[in-house]
């Protein structure tokens, strides 16, 4: 039997992990970015001070990139507080986390380190190690020029001795770019020529080329047509609505996109067009879902899902329709995972492809409808603002678990894509039902597995064991670093 302190500790950790999955530092439907930043910062500080080892281990728990970077920043800033053994584990976790993060995130983190004036030996070593292991430094120096320069200066990087072809010219490129004359490195030379030659613009990365295209007054359509081969996958998906025929993707290419991003793209399409391209879009979503499900496809048995398409799932100006996109992606993923699947949208709509954020969040009644078939798994994807009436879902779930299903034959999980700044965490449906934050629907199977700790019955020891196991697995994937 655990003590109260143990239960509280487990609750704190879960609260933090859920928040760190869902909180992205952007405006949400109900609360703005400023309040969210305040409460997320509080959570980070609280965890760092009270459960430093678990705080570092959170890097392995599938939290979102922004919060990973936040954790790394705080760990590096307060290295002096950690014991040597702790520091060693942290070092491995940080190294592994940086390897997973997108390069743009890491450069932003380095800039944040510089702004926060964190420049201890450990920080410099981490930065140096990461930078010298990059496969193509020349490319990154061009694409993230400002951030790269700041990082190089901040980490006291010995530019001349960096590996790769670009090494010798990096210093000149960063600090006196137009004085060195011709470069031997092709990309640097292209960048230099792009200042006065139109043709060179199209050999640069898209984000860099955009600036030069504006300077050369190249019309947008012509620019996109020629830059199209150099677009990355996400850039191409982002340009689908505005880019025209030059960047258009066919159904098969759409199907290879990440599921949640694809769902967000589908929801951005006007309704008539969605209707007209129904076959193509549904096919792409199914393909992406099958890919995300992998070999777990069809193994979940009877699954029911309550999916939130109420007005609040329209998100905010910064996160347009994000909660709805997660619900739509979860719909297709669960369809792939389940043997027998029953989706229930809050609006009562049957057609997932035409989902639109409208109406009230009457979770209680929909959950009741979903329980009617006594499914093996019930997944609720909602922001948790039950309002017709407020608190009915909690009551229904309470009575269900105490009176009708005390043996828990139906596993109920609530996934919440929205961080509630006022509640400092993700909103829960009921104390008896585990709630997990969700950022991308692709993580749904892991979240459902992890959510069993969230019903308030697991203590800190059990949780710590699970976290340690996961950290071990995660670090075992670590590859030896080059050079």
């Amino acid at each position: 039997m655990e003590s109260v302190a143990d239960l509280v500790a487990a609750e704190d950790v879960l609260l933090f992990v859920n928040a760190a999955v869902a909180a992205t530092g952007q405006d949400e439907f109900h609360t703005g970015r400023a309040r969210q930043e305040w409460s997320v910062d509080f959570l980070h500080e609280y965890m760092l001070v009270n459960y430093r080892d678990l705080y570092a281990a959170a890097l392995a728990l599938g939290i979102n990139d922004r919060n990973k970077a936040q954790i790394v920043l705080r760990l590096l800033r307060t290295g002096a507080d950690a014991a040597p053994a702790q520091r060693r584990t942290e070092g491995r976790l940080i190294r592994r986390a940086l390897r997973d993060l997108p390069a743009s995130r890491v450069y932003r983190l380095f800039t944040a380190l510089q702004k926060a004036k964190v420049n201890n030996r450990r920080t410099r070593a981490v930065m140096r190690e990461w930078l010298s292991a990059r496969p193509d430094l020349g490319f990154e120096a061009v694409k993230y020029r400002g951030a790269f320069k700041r990082a190089a200066v901040h980490a006291h990087l010995d530019l001349d001795r960096l590996p790769g072809d670009a090494g010798e010219e990096l210093a000149a490129f960063l600090f006196a770019p137009m004085k060195a004359g011709r470069y031997r490195t092709p990309l640097f030379e292209t960048w230099r020529r792009a200042h006065h030659e139109r043709a060179a613009v199209f050999a640069l990365p898209y984000t860099v080329a955009e600036g030069f295209a504006a300077a050369h007054r190249i019309p947008r359509s012509a620019f996109l047509e020629q830059i199209a081969p150099r677009l990355t996958r996400n850039e191409r998906l982002r340009l689908q609505r505005s880019g025209g025929a030059a960047v258009a993707l066919d159904a098969a290419a759409l199907g290879r996109m990440p599921l949640t991003r694809l769902a967000a793209y589908v929801l951005a399409i006007p309704e008539e067009e969605r209707e007209a391209r129904r076959g193509e879009l549904t096919g792409a979503l199914r393909a992406a879902a099958r890919k995300a499900a992998g070999d777990r496809a069809g193994t979940w048995g009877a699954v029911a899902a309550v999916l939130d398409d109420s007005y609040s799932s329209s998100g905010s100006g910064e996160k347009r329709r994000r909660p709805l996109a997660v619900a739509l992606a979860a719909h297709f993923l669960l369809e792939a995972l389940a043997g027998e699947y029953r989706p229930l949208w809050l609006s009562g709509g049957e057609d997932a492809l035409l989902a639109k954020p409208r109406g009230v969040t009457a979770l209680g009644e929909r959950i009741l409808d979903a329980l009617e078939g006594a499914p093996a798994v019930l997944v609720v994807v909602s922001d948790g603002w039950d309002n017709a009436p407020a608190g009915l879902a909690a009551e229904v779930l309470r009575v269900w678990t105490t009176r009708l299903d005390p043996g828990r034959r139906t596993a109920i999980v609530h996934l919440n894509p929205v961080f509630d700044a006022d509640g400092i965490g993700v909103r829960r449906l009921a104390p008896s039902v585990p709630t997990a934050g969700v950022r991308d629907a692709e993580d749904l199977p892991e979240l459902v597995a992890f959510a069993r700790f969230g019903d308030g019955r697991a203590g800190i020891e059990e949780l710590r064991a699970a976290v340690d196991a996961r950290v071990e697995r995660w670090l075992a994937e670590e590859e030896p670093w080059g050079a």
């Binding site: 007005y311 109406g359 009741l368 009617e372 009436p389 407020a390 229904v396 309470r398 009575v399 009176r403």
Partner: protein
């Protein structure tokens, strides 16, 4: 005299944001043959090159035969004037007005309230001069919705029910205003304009003082549940319980009072009425406009809550008007002496309507007592 009802409308669970509670009203089917449009001006009245802005002015449009009214601006209409009368519409076609405009609520308040208050016909020039040159006295001022703390956010995050045709706005659980429309589409169009409405000083003050109100979370009786059907029955009971509680308690101040109805306009199957309560001390007082159908069910309703001070002033003016401004008779009717009555007028900022020497005399007597 009569009462207001929400016949034809069902109450749905309210949504709380901070100190504001919004209770939706839902219609089974929209009222046929009547639509309300926000800020729609008849084309003919629009001057060439003019720029118009009517904040929250409403237009009611109806058809005589009860058929549906098209969305504003989407119907083809024959132009009323044609060349040499050759294709001039039959007489009576052009004149049949099926559209009437309402004043924006803010102006409506200023225009109609004096009427409801029986503003002094005998002292009209003075009243009018004062109204033009000075702001109305503090308690009479109405506050725009954007000044009411938390109302903007509450309206923004409110989730509109399917089929919703109305809303009751509570601030710190005091009924601040009501809007009922004939058709759900009209409600969707008018929902954001609630922020441009006027709210009384009382509501503005409550919004500042009360940061939150409790949710009325339903309680289900677990011991009575043995199957899913039982659970469903409990949920239905909880819903009915809320509707009863709302009608009987929260909205009681509006629904249980007796109102004077003044008929102002007759449409085909509907009539436009203004209503005001009998101004009694200690109760809620709501004034407003409504469009009622033949069976007195509201197709459109707009309501404004008066503050205590406004009610007191209204009561004094009513008494004075009923006694043709004879001070002694009016004081008698209230069971007061004349000096006390004049002091009351002074406290309500109405003494300037009396002759200066008369007012001063009575006030001196009152002070002497």
């Amino acid at each position: 005299m009569g009462r207001l009802t929400f016949a034809g409308l069902e109450t749905r669970p309210g949504q709380v944001w901070g100190g504001v509670r919004l209770v939706p009203l839902v219609r089974e089917a929209p009222v046929e043959g009547l639509r309300m449009h926000p800020g729609a001006l008849p084309e003919a009245e629009r001057g060439r090159g003019d720029c118009w802005y009517v904040p929250h002015g409403l237009t009611a449009e109806w058809t005589g035969d009860g058929s549906g009214v098209p969305e504003f601006g989407t119907a083809l209409r024959m132009r009323a004037s044609t060349v040499r009368g050759s294709r001039r519409p039959k007489s009576g076609f052009g004149e049949r007005r099926t559209r009437v405009r309402f004043l924006p609520r803010r102006s409506a308040l200023e225009a109609y309230l004096p009427l409801a208050f029986q503003a002094p016909v005998v002292a009209w020039p003075e009243w009018s001069r004062r109204a033009f040159t000075r702001l109305p006295p503090q308690p009479d001022r109405a506050y725009r919705g954007s000044l009411v703390d938390g109302l903007a956010d509450a309206l923004r995050v409110f989730e509109i029910h399917p089929g919703q045709c109305g809303v009751l706005v509570y601030v710190a659980d005091a009924l601040a205003g009501v809007l009922v429309t004939p058709c759900p589409d009209d409600y969707r169009a008018l929902h954001p304009t609630l922020i441009e409405d006027a709210y009384g000083e009382l509501i503005w003050r409550y919004a500042m003082l009360h940061a939150s109100v409790p949710e009325f979370a339903p309680r289900l009786d677990a011991s009575a549940v043995a199957s899913l059907a039982d659970l469903r029955a409990q949920v239905d009971a909880a819903r009915r319980g809320w509707a009863e509680f709302h009608g009987g308690t929260l909205a009681a101040g509006l629904l249980d009072s007796e109102y004077h109805f003044t008929e102002t306009y007759a449409m085909a199957g509907f009539r436009v009425v203004r209503y005001r309560p009998a101004f009694a001390a200690g109760g809620e007082a709501h004034v407003g406009e409504a469009i009622l159908d033949a069976r007195d069910r509201p197709a459109f309703l707009q309501s404004f809550r008066l503050s205590e001070t406004q009610v007191r002033r209204a009561r004094l003016l009513e008494v004075l008007a009923a006694r043709e401004w004879r001070l002694d008779a009016a004081a008698d009717a209230l069971g007061l002496g004349v000096p006390a009555f004049v002091a009351l007028l002074r406290n309500s900022d109405l003494d300037w309507m009396l002759r200066r020497d008369v007012a001063d005399h009575h006030l001196a007597v009152h002070r002497g007592q």
